[in-house]
């Protein structure tokens, strides 16, 4: 009887004229969401009452710190009759959470409600970000894309353009290769007292701002997009062991090392958000980072740059001879596999509501930093005018590559964070030594497990949600 009721409920949702559940479908159902204070959640939390009015289900969102949240999810999912039915998930976690069986497979639900959720409008890589072993374990609520931000006002300044071309022999435009990126970083690095765009600087200006901190693996967030842009892979496809010490990884580490000279002096302690601060204050010529922070560059209440200059946006540079890649990530919502069937159905209804095309458009219009993942929103002319970086996010999805999703991702971030940081600080002689050290440590942990298991962990099979 319960299954029949669920089937009827599901059908009602699927064929509903409004494309969502009708009032009272989930009367009495109470859901709790284990989340962080991420923009994708803080925008939704104040309006969950609207969902209750719509469906009858009451949702409470509890926000916790990012560090430790994954452990709390794993513990929560280990208990029967869980306290939390909904989970906020960062895409690299799908390996750990997939292996632990913590999350419900959403594949069938997505297929069932494909029309309602405008599946064709969602950038495919954002779904792939949440896939583990061919199962879709979470649904994107904010799609992150790694891209390049630069000082457009400086790049378009005639004196700077002329000086750059005279020095390097090619025009000053957003870097397409890492060699160009280094040239631009060198060119714009100035001391206090020097001139920049016709003005005398009262403090130093930097050519680049990059995260070199080992804390929370910050340096790896900058290293991996560069490594991937040189065609590097995380894992050896034959053995499932660490492959992040090959030529591409070496090139990436050396690019970062060359850029050290053009970074702020506190580069070794720069975490991702402090690094973005340099761009937001207009104190650096260029900086690449996740698109979740880019919205600040359009808002004078959150950044200094809009009042002193203008930000420009471009795809992240590439290694020579490689196609322009984009690193993606996804901040997503998932369902606890231990929830009851009714709770799961209500939770899925909530996910559909909270990540819907309409809701995401509403967030965009309100000025939210939620990073969009619907093609129609990113290509909307009015929104593109408001958020000039939308076109870049849309264009760069074609060659997108997903983030690391291995169950040992945290180990990788920790080990590579330390080894790369030591190399940048000059404590390790060469990039090769640093990367070999890191891979050796990772492999020591991985070799405990049989090869077939290691190969399963790197299997990037797609969920069968597209016809």
């Amino acid at each position: 009887m319960k299954h029949l009721k669920m089937a009827l409920m599901g059908s009602a949702v699927a064929i509903g004229t409004t494309g969502s559940a009708t009032a009272g479908d989930f009367d009495g159902v109470e859901l709790k969401m284990l989340a962080i204070g991420d923009t994708s959640v803080t925008r939704l939390a104040p309006i969950v009452g609207e969902f209750e009015e719509l469906t009858g289900a009451k949702v409470q969102i509890d926000m916790f710190p990012y560090p430790g949240l994954i452990d709390k999810i794993v513990i929560e999912a280990s208990a029967d009759n869980p306290s939390y039915q909904l989970m906020w998930v960062d895409s690299p976690w799908v390996g750990v959470l997939g292996e632990s069986g913590a999350l419900e497979d959403l594949t069938e639900l997505v297929k069932r409600d494909a029309e309602e959720i405008h599946l064709d409008d969602i950038i495919p890589i954002q779904l792939q970000e949440n896939t583990w072993q061919g199962r879709l374990l979470a649904f994107p609520a904010s799609g992150m894309i790694w891209h390049q931000n630069y000082r457009k006002d400086l790049y378009e300044h005639p004196e700077e353009q002329a000086a750059f071309e005279a020095k390097y022999g090619y025009p000053l435009t957003p870097a397409q290769t890492w060699d160009q990126y280094i040239d631009i970083a060198e060119f714009f690095t100035r001391d206090a007292g020097e001139a920049l765009a016709g003005e005398v600087l009262d403090k130093p200006f930097y050519g680049n701002a990059q995260a070199y901190s080992r804390v929370a693996g910050a340096i790896t967030h900058d290293f991996f997009p560069i490594m991937r842009s040189f065609g590097g892979q995380y894992w050896d496809a034959e053995t499932g062991l660490c492959a992040m010490d090959g030529e591409a990884a070496l090139a990436a580490a050396n690019v970062m090392k060359e850029l050290v000279a053009f970074n702020p002096p506190d580069y070794l302690g720069l975490m991702w958000d402090i690094r973005t601060g340099y761009m937001e204050r207009g104190e650096t010529a260029q900086s690449s980072y996740w698109s979740v922070r880019t919205v600040r560059l359009t808002n004078p209440d959150e950044a200094v740059l809009p009042t002193i200059g203008e930000a420009g946006y471009a795809a992240s540079p590439t290694g020579d001879g490689n196609p322009q890649p984009t690193m993606t990530g996804a901040l997503s919502f998932a369902i606890n596999s231990k929830a009851t069937d009714t709770e799961k159905e209500a939770a899925w209804e909530f996910i559909k509501w909270g990540t819907s095309q309409d809701m995401m458009r509403r967030f965009a219009e309100e000025g939210s930093g939620v990073s969009q993942f619907h093609k129609s929103i990113l290509s909307d002319p009015e929104l593109q005018e408001k958020y000039p970086y939308y076109q870049v996010l849309l264009d760069t999805q074609e060659n997108a590559q997903r983030r690391i999703f291995h169950p040992f991702y945290a180990d990788v971030e920790e080990v590579f964070g330390v080894e790369l940081n030591k190399f940048m600080a000059g404590e390790t002689e060469s990039a090769q030594e640093a990367l070999t050290n890191a891979c050796t440590k990772i492999n020591t942990r991985l070799k405990v497990f049989p090869e077939d298991l290691r190969l399963r962990w790197i299997n990037d099979a797609q969920a069968e949600i597209f016809d």
């Binding site: 962080i36 990012y66 430790g68 513990i75 306290s83 996740w290 979740v292 959150e302």
Partner: protein
């Protein structure tokens, strides 16, 4: 002993100034960052002159029920401190006074309770509290913190009770005091500095603890340490709010320590001079 020379006095004050700068700089940074506008939060060199803003405090209390989280922390910290002092003091008195060849082993066994790495016991605690329905309640944290605080209290108080001469208790017995009356009216007041020291350690541990508070609470019993760290999200670390929360968090601890200060100084030095 001659009075210090002017030069010595100046040197002492200089040294004190250095120590004060070292200890007060982080507090100054927390306080100033809590009222600094976000765009200039990490400006280099730091902005010392700026128009202060209360936006971080407003959003701290506006976006989350921070007052409730403060209350939770106070309930948990005072609850655990009271619980630990009550039972820890009684246990310490017993260990101090009972003469038995295995009593030192008992004392060590009690101390060993504190040696468990928290991460090793967090899952069992979670399952136990989930089973008995105490998950996400202040009582769960009071119990957990007390398991760490009681051993500390026992060991601290045992030292203080050992210092109280048996002759005083024997005199009390001659005057007709019973065992508990002797403990309550004679021994405990003499060991009051120990109570103050124990109370401070118990309170500070409970107030600052993070791991258990993260794992064993939800929105009902969340404490300030977790609430403040919750402003560390994936897209931004909201330092302004973290600093505002941190500054508020400092206040109860400072008040508590200052309240206990009179006994604390004597407690920390008691027994150091024969």
């Amino acid at each position: 002993m001659s009075a210090p020379s002017k030069r010595q006095t100046v040197l002492v004050y200089l040294l004190l100034a250095v120590v004060l700068i070292v200890f007060l700089t982080p507090i100054y940074l927390i306080a100033s960052s809590s009222v600094k506008p976000s765009p200039i939060m990490f400006q280099k060199p730091p902005a010392f002159l700026f128009t202060p803003t209360l936006e971080h405090y407003e959003s701290l209390f506006g976006m989350r029920p921070f007052a409730k989280f403060m209350l939770n922390s106070l309930v948990v910290s005072f609850g655990s401190t009271a619980f630990s002092l009550t039972f820890g003091t009684l246990a310490a008195y017993a260990i101090s006074r009972i003469r038995h060849k295995r009593m030192n082993d008992v004392a060590f066994w009690i101390l060993s309770m504190r040696m468990f790495p928290p991460i090793a016991v967090v899952v069992p605690y979670y399952i136990i509290f989930k089973t008995v329905g105490l998950l996400d309640t202040p009582l769960a944290l009071i119990i957990v913190y007390s398991t760490a605080n009681i051993p500390l209290t026992v060991w601290l108080m045992k030292g203080f009770f050992d210092e109280v001469p048996m002759a005083l208790e024997e005199a009390a017995a001659v005057d007709g005091y019973g065992l508990f009356e002797t403990f309550w009216r004679i021994t405990l007041p003499l060991a009051a500095p120990g109570l103050a020291v124990s109370a401070v350690f118990c309170f500070v541990f409970s107030w600052n603890e993070f791991l258990f508070a993260l794992m064993l609470t939800g929105s009902e019993a969340q404490t300030v340490t977790v609430a403040v760290m919750s402003f560390w999200s994936s897209d931004a670390v909201q330092w302004g709010r973290i600093m505002a929360g941190s500054f508020i968090i400092l206040i109860p601890g400072v008040i508590f320590v200052l309240t206990c200060q009179r006994w604390l100084v004597r407690g920390l030095t008691m027994g150091s001079v024969k």
